[in-house]
C-alpha cells in the first residue's frame, strides 16, 4: 500500500476534519475544563461520534462495526489531536477493540457490538506505577471458585472512573491474562485524578475482586499476545494523536510568525526563527510518515509492525514535543498565558507522550528489537 491516503481515506478525512473542528474545537476542551466536568469528555459529542459510526470503526463488521483499519482510525485521532478534543476514542475504539477482536470469544461478542453502538466506554488498566512497564505486571489473578480473584493497583487509567468495563492485565500462574472487569464489580475502586491536560485518569484498586471464568479475554495465561495487540494499537493511535497535536501547534505557530511584528518586521522574516520552523516542519513530516508506516504494517498484519510501532511512538513523541516547545517559545510572552491555546497543546502533548510508553521506553525497545 502506498503511504498516502487513498480516495476513501481522503473522503473520511474530509468529513471527520470539519466535524471535529466545528463540534469540538479547543474551546470545547476549555468549556469542559472550566466547568470542572467530572466525566472527562462530553457524552453528547460521543453520541455525535456514534452517529458517524466512529466508535465502531475498527470493530469487525460481523460485530456491528465498520471493519476499518488503523490508517482510518489514525485519521480520526489526528483530528482529535489537532483540536485537543477530550474523547474516549483511543482507549475504547482503538485499544479495547484491538484486544477484543484479537481474542474473540464471549467478551468480544459481549463488548464489541456495545462499543460500535456507542453504548460502552472501555478503559485500559495496564500501568501500575508512574512509568509504563507492561513487562512487570504485578496485579494478580488467582483461581477462586469458578473464576478468579483480582488483587492489585493500576494507574494512569484514562476514563477508569466512568468506563463501563476495564480491560485489566494481570499475572496468572503461567503468564499474563486479560480480564474484562465491569464497572460495578465488587472491590473495584477508581480514584480519578485531574491531569495537567485537564483529562481524568484514575488510580484503580482491585481488592479481592471476584470475576467469573468467562471474564477472561481470550485464554488464561495467553494474554501476552492480546496485550501486545492492545499496546500496538494504542501506541500507534497515541502517536497519530500526537501528530495531530504537533501539527496543530505548528500551524498556529507558523500563522503567528506571519502576524506578529517586532523591530518593525514580521517575526517570520527573521532567519533565526525561519530555520527553526523549517526544521520543525521536517521533523513533523517524518513523524507523520512513520506513523503511517506503523499503521500500514499493523493493517497488513506484518511482523515488522512491532518495531515500527515503537519507532512511531518515539518519533512522534520527539516531533510533537519539539512542536509544542517551539510553539510556546515562538509565541513569546503570550505563549505563557492561559488565554492562548498554544499552552494547552503543550499540556496535551505531555500526557500523550507518557501514555503507553514514553520516548525513552520506546527507544530502549528499538535497541532490544535490534539485538542490543
Amino acid at each position: 500500500m502506498p503511504l498516502y491516503h487513498n480516495d476513501d481515506q481522503a473522503m473520511l478525512k474530509d468529513s471527520v476534519a470539519p466535524f471535529v473542528a466545528e463540534q469540538a474545537p479547543v474551546s470545547h476542551l476549555r468549556k469542559l475544563r472550566d466547568s470542572a466536568d467530572a466525566t472527562g469528555f462530553s457524552r453528547d459529542l460521543w453520541a455525535q461520534f456514534t452517529e458517524m459510526g466512529l466508535p465502531g470503526m475498527l470493530v469487525p463488521e460481523a460485530h456491528g462495526g465498520l471493519g476499518m483499519g488503523h490508517m482510518e482510525a489514525g485519521i480520526v485521532l489526528e483530528e482529535i489531536g489537532r483540536n485537543l478534543t477530550p474523547s474516549p476514542f483511543l482507549s475504547t475504539s482503538v485499544g479495547a477493540v484491538a484486544a477484543l477482536a484479537k481474542a474473540g470469544g464471549t467478551q468480544a461478542e459481549r463488548w464489541l457490538p456495545a462499543i460500535a453502538s456507542g453504548e460502552a466506554i472501555v478503559a485500559l488498566a495496564i500501568d501500575e506505577g508512574a512509568k509504563h512497564r507492561p513487562e512487570r505486571i504485578a496485579t494478580s489473578a488467582t483461581r477462586s471458585g469458578n473464576g478468579f480473584r483480582l488483587d492489585g493497583k493500576k494507574s494512569f487509567v484514562l476514563h477508569g472512573h466512568v468506563a463501563d468495563m476495564s480491560i485489566v492485565a494481570a499475572k496468572t500462574d503461567g503468564g499474563i491474562t486479560l480480564f474484562a472487569v465491569p464497572r460495578d464489580a465488587k472491590g473495584v475502586t477508581a480514584d480519578p485524578r485531574r491531569l495537567v491536560d485537564s483529562s481524568l485518569a484514575s488510580h484503580v484498586t482491585f481488592d479481592g475482586v471476584e470475576v467469573d471464568a468467562d471474564a477472561v479475554i481470550g485464554e488464561v495465561d495467553a494474554g501476552g499476545e492480546i496485550l501486545d495487540a492492545l499496546l500496538a494499537a494504542t501506541r500507534t493511535g497515541a502517536a497519530a494523536e500526537m501528530v495531530g497535536v504537533g501539527q496543530g501547534a505548528m500551524d498556529r505557530t507558523v500563522t503567528y510568525l506571519k502576524e506578529r511584528k517586532q523591530f518593525g518586521k514580521l517575526i517570520g522574516e527573521f532567519q533565526g526563527l525561519q530555520h527553526r520552523a523549517a526544521h520543525l516542519y521536517g521533523e513533523m513530516e517524518v513523524a507523520r510518515a512513520t506513523v503511517m508506516k506503523a499503521q500500514e504494517l499493523l493493517d497488513r498484519g506484518s511482523e515488522g509492525a512491532k518495531l515500527m510501532v515503537s519507532v512511531a511512538k518515539a518519533k512522534a513523541g520527539r516531533a510533537a514535543n519539539l512542536a509544542v516547545r517551539e510553539g510556546v517559545q515562538m509565541h513569546g510572552g503570550i505563549g505563557m498565558t492561559d488565554e492562548y491555546d498554544i499552552g494547552l497543546y503543550m499540556k496535551r502533548d505531555r500526557a500523550l507522550a507518557e501514555y503507553m510508553g514514553d520516548v525513552h521506553y520506546h527507544i530502549d525497545q528499538v535497541a532490544r528489537m535490534n539485538g542490543y
Binding site: 502506498p2 498516502y4 523549517a278 517524518v286 510518515a289 512513520t290 518519533k315 528499538v366 535497541a367 535490534n370
Partner: protein
Amino acid sequence: MSDLDAFRAEVRGWLEANCPAEMREPIREEGDVCWGGRNWVFQNDAQKAWLEACVAKGYTVPDWPKPYGGAGLTPEQTKVFKQEMKRINARSPLDSFGIWMLGPALLQFGTEEQKIQYLNPIARGEIRWCQGYSEPGSGSDLVSLQTFGEDKGDHWVVNGSKIWTSYADKADWIFCLVRTDKANKYQGITFMLFDMASKGVTTKPILLISGNSPFCETFFDDVEVPKTQFIGEINRGWDVAKYLLGHEREMISGGGAGGDMVSIGGAFAKSFGKNAAGELDDPILRAEMAAFDVDVFAYRAMGERFMDMWKTGRAHPASSNMMKYVGTELNKRRHELVMSGGGSEALEWDSEETKGGARARGWLRTKANSIEGGTSEVMLNVIAKRILDLPGA
C-alpha cells in the same frame, strides 16, 4: 494474481537468472560501483555481464521510456523492481550523473532528437557525464556564476572555471551552466552540453580532508561549443538547473541522503561487548545509537512516503529540500556514531585492517553531505519560503 504480482514474479525470476553472485555482495570499494563511460575498466567479468544483462532489458534506467534505453516501467512497477533488487542485495548495474541528473533534465526539456541522441548512450553506460555548476565565487549563490560563453554565430566560445565537479577527470561529457547574457542574472544562463575532450578543457583533482579526490576544478580556455548543444532555451538554463537541483535532491532523498539505512546499534552489537542483560556494554552510547536508530527507521518510512507521493504528483515540489536536509544531517550523525563505536581503531588512516582507514575517510566525506547540492541552511531557507510561506525569506 494481480498484474503487479505477475510482474514481481517475472522480475524475481529474471534477477535470479541474471544477477551474478558477485553482484549481490555489499559495495566495499570504489571500483565496486560501475560508472561506465569510454574509459571504464570493468572490475571483473561479473560486473560487465550484469551491466550488459540490464542494458538489454532497459533495467539500468527502468522507468525511462523504451525508445531512450529504459524498460518503460510504471511507478508501481519501478517500486517493485527496486524492492526485488533490494531483496537479493543486488548492486546497481550502473551509477551515473547521466542517469540521475542529465537524463531527467533531458526527459523534461530535451527535444525528441536530443533524447534519442543522449539518453541511449547514458542507459548503455557508454558516456559518463559530469556536472558543471558551482564556481569558485558561486557556491550557495549559484546564480552569480561567471563562466561566459561568447556568441560567435554558430558556436559559443566558453571561458571560465567550475569547482566541485564530481569525477570531472573521469567524465566523457559535461552538462554545464554558462552565462550567455551578462545583463540578465536569472535569464542569462544557458544549459550547455559538451565533450570533455574538447580543446581547452582541463581538470585538476581537489584533495579533500578525507584524503580522497572525488571532486575537480575544471577550467575552460576558449572552448568551442556548437550552438546546437544546449537544453531548453538559450538564456533559460536556470529553469533547467532549478529543475535538476530539485531532482538531485529527490535522488539524494530517495536513495542516498540517509546513507546506509540499517540499525547502527545492531551492527555494533557484534563487535562490542554485551552486559548480562544482553545490552551493548556502554549505556550512553547504546542510548545514542538507539535514538539514532529511531530516526533512521523513521526516515526510511519518510523516504517511502516521499517517493510514493513524488511519483504520483502528490508531493510538495519543494519537499525534496526537506528530504535532503533531514537525510544528510542523519548520515553525518551516523558517521559520528561509527567513529565513537570504532574507538581508536577507527582512527587508523591506512592500515589494512581498516581497509585503508575506510571509517575515518567515510566519516570525513559525510561532512560534505550537508554542503553539496545545496547546504542545509539553503534547504531550510527554501522550506521556510516555499513550503511554510514565511515572509521575506
